[in-house]
Amino acid sequence: MNVPTMADMMAQGKQPEVLFWVGAAGSYDDRAKKITRAFVKILQQANVDFAVLGTEESSTGDAAKRAGNEFLFQMQAVTNIEVLNAYEVKTIVTCDPHSFNTLKNEYPGLGGKYKVYHHTQYINKLIKEGRLTIEDENLKGKRLTYHDPCYLGRANDVYESPRELIRRLGVKMTEMKRHKSTALCCGAGGAQMFKEPEKGDKDINVLRTEDALETNPQIIATGCPYCNTMMTDGVKFKEKEAQIEVKDIAELIAEANNL
């Protein structure tokens, strides 16, 4: 894929309209990389002039902060902010609600002030500006339910952007009993992604998958690479992987538009 870096852009004396913050999951996790590529295809279809930091990108520090390591978080933040400010970045888009939350809410106090979009918000913006349309043929009539990522939903009150996009796909959407502000966490947040859960009687992702299964879906959509992993594991645990796909909204749009 042709993905320019900020360094390339700068060498050519250009400033892209938006920086795509890929995030650790989107860069390294095999499943999440597919989401990254799907989103890049969407950006390319809409002729968005974007760039990534590439090897100059580093962890936002979100997981360290939620684990209680404020030192490491701020070290990461200050380093990233230096890079971002050196490139005079104004606008950032990311597929990771955790990066979204940290960049948008926690970086400004440390000197990093940017306009930050979650990719579902950014895609809506592209549609409203007439730069992108979503075809509703490929997924027509599919039964879909949407899982709200905590760091997009409750953390930042973004409930409608993903739903607006889902409505354009022509799918048959059923909400889970717990949705929007009452949505149940997938179990990955607060650095849980990187450790075994404490002793209990069930794993959180299994409970959340059961919520989803109640809607009898063919697709569980979400907008977070970590939620995606947790729900995929939950679907496997329930031995439903033959019937149910877990997809990011960016992937669904790429599929709808034959990208």
């Binding site: 209680g68 070290m75 502000s181 990187f194 859960p197 209990g200 069930k202």
Partner: protein, 439 residues
């Protein structure tokens, strides 16, 4: 002189009741002020709006419709029926009887008392349903581990209090012969009155007077019971919603003490051997995070006193729902109980805290509870009075990690990776862009 005995007696009870309450409120304020300073004086219009909407307007209560609507009935009844308290106090002090009736006229008086009677009946019904939900239906959130013993009894005592107070109010009106004969405003009590058919006028008068006295004494006892119970929310809900966090729930504070040190580390011109500036603060370096209540800020401590243990947080906590030890309600109860312990320690030692070898961490809240949190904000979202258990959990994690290096091993590995290669996994930073060529 003798005829003034009841008036004087009444005045004394009133002074004692209110005086003791004020003393406890001062203690409460002193304890809350043991918390660290945090500035919540900005964005006043939003704060007033939140208080009006959430505390006064009960906006978040109806997220759960059954308990929410019943709670509004009790709340409105409680506030309005207390208008009647004004008359009771004046009657008690002056020795008058229904002093407002001639002043505002029968029609208005009848309307007001009639409304109070209807409300009293509704409150009685609502409280009975609450009792049923707690004790017969056994709604799960009232039966979590942390509710065993006193918290469970406390919940029921409050309900009994309200049942007795409402009953006394109706009996008082039912046995007031003049009030029943006048027939204005006795919408409910007229159906209670027949229970006392055949009682002599003297007996009725005695019952009425007793109900009157028990009602006012009961209310004063209730007022003073608040401080010892979970029920302080009827007062603290107001400041608590006013001073609550207004930022996005996902935004966690950036520790200022850390910022200073990081800036210093990152600044190539910084002189690590520099003398502290003139007038710079001396003494112990600041402690990172919280291991005891005095490390928390005053809003967090006020949160703890405001919690009425309804358990909506815990019943929506993913960790708790899957059998983990963590319960956000317990975090608040523990914080309050430890703060009370610290307060009592100060009372016993002439206003100075003497080390008791205990702290909030480990003695009340275990690391296992803290590490089970997914920081999903469900507890914060659900709290009907905007309590923030997550902020306390985070402060305590910060202490565990930055002061004690006591994170779970896997998290230490994750953090080492971030330090070494800028990602939570052990991948080279040079491979960050490999995804673009992998399809």
């Amino acid at each position: 002189m003798e005829k003034y005995v009841p008036n004087i007696f009444f005045a004394l009870i009133l002074i004692a009741g209110i005086g003791y309450f004020v003393m406890n409120v001062r203690k409460l304020i002193r304890n809350i002020k043991l918390g660290k300073d945090i500035d919540r004086s900005n964005r006043k219009p939003e704060r007033w709006k939140n208080m009006a909407k959430i505390a006064l307007g009960q906006y978040k209560m109806v997220r759960r419709p059954v308990s929410g609507i019943l709670h509004i009935v009790v709340y409105v009844g409680f506030i309005l029926i207390n208008i009647e308290m004004l008359e009771i106090v004046i009657d008690g002090l002056l020795g008058t009887h229904r002093v407002f009736q001639p002043i505002i006229g029968d029609a208005l008086y009848g309307f007001l008392i009639g409304s109070f009677e209807i409300l009293a009946l509704l409150v009685l019904l609502a409280v009975t349903v609450f009792w049923f939900r707690r004790n017969i239906e056994k709604v799960k959130r009232f039966w979590n581990k942390e509710m065993e013993g006193w918290p469970k009894n406390d919940g029921n005592i409050i309900l009994y209090f309200e049942m007795v107070l409402m009953t006394l109010f109706l009996v008082m009106n039912a046995t007031d012969v003049h009030f029943q004969e006048a027939g204005v405003g006795n919408v409910v009590s007229q159906f209670v009155a027949p229970w006392f058919d055949g009682f002599s006028p003297e007996a009725l008068h005695t019952i009425e007077k007793s109900a009157w006295w028990l009602h006012i004494v009961g209310i004063l006892i209730f007022l003073n019971y608040l401080y010892y119970s979970k029920h302080l929310h009827i007062l603290l809900a107001f400041p608590n919603t006013f001073f609550a966090n207004l930022n996005p729930k996902g935004q966690f504070s950036n520790l200022e003490a850390v910022t200073k040190e990081v800036k210093m580390m990152m600044d190539p011109d910084a002189d690590p051997y520099a003398m502290p500036e003139e007038g710079a603060e001396e003494g112990e370096p600041e402690k990172f995070g919280a291991s005891d209540v005095t490390d928390l800020n005053w809003v967090q401590l006020m949160n703890a006193y405001t919690c009425t243990e309804c358990g909506r947080c815990t019943s929506s906590c993913p960790a708790n729902l899957t059998g983990k030890e963590l319960s956000p309600r317990k975090i608040m109860m523990d914080t309050r109980d430890r703060l009370e312990e610290v307060g009592k320690n100060m009372d016993a030692n002439g206003g100075k805290f003497v080390d008791d070898g205990k702290q909030l961490l480990n003695d009340y809240i275990t690391p296992e509870e803290l590490w089970a949190c997914t920081s999903c904000n469900a507890c914060v979202q659900e709290c009907p009075v905007n309590i923030d258990p997550l902020s306390i959990i985070m402060e305590m994690r910060r202490y565990l990690v930055m002061e004690e290096s006591a994170a779970p091993q896997e998290l230490n590995m994750m953090m080492t990776n971030i330090e070494n290669n800028g990602a939570p996994w052990q991948y080279s930073q040079m491979d960050r862009l490999n995804w673009k060529d992998e399809e």
